[in-house]
Symmetry: D2
Subunit: 365 residues, 4 copies
């Protein structure tokens, strides 16, 4: 349904980068979820521009709850939260209707909305809308944590520098706690920062991969068709700007494996059933098997770069050199970390709500 996603718990996203506000409505949320303002602010902060490796655009980015929250708890009615846009430089974007930026939605937005779209700051296509997703997601992450479900992501690669991957059987998620630039291998992290710094110096940008782990998810979550756990997570993840791929467990590596290598044998452990390995990323038949759910998403290098590029001038019908000024991230993947946590939380909570009903996530008075 276009700008909505989710069945039992549904998020509807709205806003333009340089309009009045971005925001979202969360419907189907349980009454009695504590609104953890600190957690929300922490996640917002991770996503926010203004830090060393991200865009210099600084905004307060404080989510305001217009509805659905009272006395620090969700009411069970739709939560509408908005984040005001206060720091927009709209003048920068005027020329892209004639000279659409390569790799950018200027052109496709025009195809779709036939000239009525707001191009300023990427309009409705802007990564800025993820601020609303992160706020909504953090609200849900708090509720999931109360049920023993934790969602953590790290930067798996930037350019050709790779972090360690999660140990799929026993992912070291605590090691990432409170990290500003979350990697498992700090040395790799320093090299990644160097790649980003260099890209920025060259007025260019770098791509990257984020790895996400959902730990503590009960067994039996997901559907055989079409709302498999992979499908639902994939749907949300692939709608995040710049995300161009997703893989679960060993992912594309499974193409080169034998069945005898890829199959995860069921074993007993501490009176529970788990698998001896986790090549499938905690999902079999579209349904959680009780092991950590692990997946990776790839983010293309930021399309907006200051480096001169050739592109079409629609007025002249010829290609010309375009120089894009303005504030841009040299590596969007870094800011995708809290976004992947947020969208995962929204998907997981939707599936849990379907299974256990729409009161389950909340507390009881």
């Amino acid at each position: 349904m276009k700008n909505s996603f989710g069945n039992a718990l549904c998020v509807t996203l709205f806003g333009e980068s340089h309009g009045d506000a971005v925001g979202c409505v969360l419907d189907g949320i349980a009454p009695g979820i504590k609104v953890d303002v600190d957690l929300i602010q922490t996640e917002m902060e991770k996503r926010r521009g203004g830090k060393e490796y991200t865009t210099p655009r600084k905004e307060e980015d404080v989510p305001v709850f217009l509805s659905g929250v009272k006395d620090g708890y969700t009411e069970g009615t739709p939560v509408c939260l908005i984040i005001r846009n206060t720091n927009a430089h709209s003048a920068d974007y005027s020329k892209f209707r004639d000279m659409p930026r390569p790799g950018h939605a200027d052109m496709t937005a025009g195809y779709k909305y036939r000239g009525y779209e707001d191009l300023r700051g990427g309009g409705h296509f802007s990564g800025r809308l993820t601020a609303a997703l992160v706020a909504a997601g953090a609200l849900i992450e708090g509720a999931l944590a109360g049920k023993g479900i934790r969602i953590v992501s790290h930067i798996e690669s930037i350019g050709d520098v790779k972090d360690r991957r999660f140990d799929a059987d026993h992912p070291e998620i605590d090691a990432l706690n409170g990290k500003d630039f979350p990697v498992l291998d700090e040395e790799a992290g320093e090299k990644m920062k160097e790649v980003i710094r260099k890209a920025a110096e060259e007025k260019d940008s770098a791509g990257g991969v984020i790895e996400t782990c959902v730990a503590g998810l009960p067994e039996g979550i997901g559907e055989p068709w079409f709302d498999t756990l992979e499908s639902m997570l994939g749907h949300m993840a692939l709608s995040v700007p710049a995300c161009k791929g997703i893989e679960f467990g060993d992912g594309f590596g499974l193409a080169g494996m034998k069945g005898s290598e890829a199959n995860d044998p069921w074993i007993p452990e501490d009176g529970k059933i788990r698998t001896a390995s986790n090549h499938c990323g905690g999902i079999v038949g579209g349904i959680s098997d009780g092991m950590p759910v692990i997946f990776r998403t790839v983010f293309k290098p930021t399309a907006s770069i200051a480096k001169p590029q050739e592109t079409l001038n629609r007025k002249t019908g010829k290609t010309e050199v375009l120089e894009v000024t303005g504030r841009h991230d040299p590596c969007i993947a870094v800011r995708a970390v809290p976004v992947m946590n947020a969208v995962s939380a929204l998907v997981i909570a939707d599936l849990l709500t379907q299974r256990y009903g729409n009161l389950w996530l909340g507390e009881t008075k």
Copy 2:
């Protein structure tokens, strides 16, 4: 919505592998779509077991239209098609409730359905349900072809053998016409067959990657959130059994690229606008840009293998050696080719119907 997918054009899937029938309902379909029985049979044949590189289970697999079709055309009312199950050997599956097969949905089905599930032949989780998807998809592929939209897939890799990828700017889709084992490089194809043969001999299985191209798609199809073209194709693809990843354009390769390399410059060509390269796979901002849409999906090696495996015996609480007999594909990826075409057609037709209305795909009397 669980076993349904699509908004304006919605498919609902039902059936168990060893039940009476598998089938689906297509709702929202335009009146006046010619039912191309030959095309449907051709695609069904590609998916069907019984050929050299696939499972020896042979069934007639003829789809019967129970509703929505009259005098060779769709009526505009829901199309229900079913495929009878006539060749099932249910005795093979009795023991997997106690000893769930590694990598298989026996266990997770039990988590979800709490013992009421039909385990025979994989039940509702069986790849056999893709027969209904292929039949429905082929019906739609015919209608799309009438609008100049063609959907073609080839086997990009099996094990460590790789086919050429599509030339993303001018994919050579005609080269695949009528191929039984569709590859661009026949020599690679022979090597792939050798990998499959060897896996079968070893009572093991092989994984693979399928590459799909949607050519001729109009610009402006897809949504910025959450129903991006990537999200919709990804949702459907990731719900196909054994599919564990999807990537668009250069996909995970984009992580190692610079923005200046990954951006596709807009250029004029023959009075139209296209891009000089196609690293983004024909999708920018979630929306089609008029270039070929290209993506790859990875299929894990078939979980059911005859090779002895250790797994849990739930009765004894200990691991034991399990030998799985029965009919199984040494490489499920080969049969995924028509499935990826079908699910892509369903997604594309849904998005086109949303944009152009629910009469657009049909003919006018």
Copy 3:
């Protein structure tokens, strides 16, 4: 979603009156619901033609479960059930494309499907499709009864003859048990039959009103917007052929009441809270209040009558006299009784599933 209804529990309807079969898919159903074949057959029998006051078309109308049911229980996977069409006289319907019957969907079907529709027996618009709804509804009614929720309807009026209405506070639903022609006042029932007999003699038809009671529904079911209990029941009821209105509690009578008369005061009773009266029909603010839910639906007189009528001949462009032969009910309202029970059950079960999760309605092994 067109031919689907329901969120957590969703029914998709398909079929044409004179096609191969009519049927439906129930998705989101809990595993472990006992399939009460006798109850289903009883409800089917109530709906079936061939009895004194209904159409002489007799069919076996035995629902066949193609999927989702095993060993007498639902599996949790989609239930597809079909009812074969075996007794169709298609020749009767050929002329209505040129001379559309007054009050009938011949014409509007043509507007919608542009000539591709199946007019035979009303095609997809036929009341025959309610056979599938009744079968699906009866399956659910059995599960609801296991939770103490009972759904019962009676004929409130035929023509100008009126039955007693339910005592809204303590509806006498047991009095209707096993009645073929369910009325509370048998004398009124005899007069109703007389009205129908007379209408049939005059080659005409009669309208009527059905009153439905849902007893034992837990408090808190329904949504404030837009899926109020009234909205959900209304949506389903108003999609049943010939239904042209619905009212809850005192319904249209509320227009003539004062607030002090219409308000239902909360009172204690046996340690529970109930209302002293039930003018609101058990629904306040769109949500069940624990009292019996009561509503009435009006069914217009059967449009197909043998009496000669003037209507347009589209070939000549002039009005002419049309005589409709074939098998028709003199009063469709009578057969609407099991249909209203069925659609109510589907709506109620959907809302309960949303609230309590998708395992709630089933048994546990």
Copy 4:
């Protein structure tokens, strides 16, 4: 989907009466719809309290567009509009948790949200949320008018005073233009006002019926199942607070008619096809037949009355006399007029968008 309604064009409602704001998101809206601020303000004014026959609560009620609108036109992206709550007297509502008002959602809200709900001013259940619906509806009404589709309502009855009904064949909708208290028969209107005045004097309230006409709707709109035109209009209408019934065409009157009386014969007129009468309210088989669509909705008397009423005190477990102070409408039906126009517009536009695509309602640059 709970607080969302619509398929191709979807409205999501949020807010609490005494929270920060009420508002809604309109998703799926065409780009290029002119935002007719005057029309929106006129409709808002009709709904607004503060006039002679309605509640003395006066608010500015100016909708603010947070997204989706630029330079006076819709962009095609989600339109979020909010209306700030500035004139709330929250102290009035504190006691209703213990002593729930008869006929009011205080109690059922508690059942549903388990104590986390905001009771102030009715919270999320408040009629105040219709302000957002009216604003959204008026935006759409403007677009529909541009396509020749007009939606008009009048007060059909208050208490036992009845206005003339629309001439169903040629409804005199122009006669209602600009009327503050829209009736066809002014004399009846004066009597209605007298009924309201008297109810107010008695600290009581009155019920009423609203009749709505959709003129100029193309043929072929609506679905046979389940989204019939009656179902979709009924779903929306029955979710408006205090609405307890809806009937189409002759509605409940059809129960007393013969088929030969109720059928509307097709006739030629001015080269088009119409019906000689309009007992079916412009809808046959769930689908528009080109005649005016006409329906009536009943609104119960305002539940909040100043007159003392007995109700349960949950603390004492006994009934006591409750006196409700605060601002209340003596007759909510009057203010339902613009609400019924608005929700009808939203439904109609959704169905038109499904049929003609999501660009149809907008202008082309």
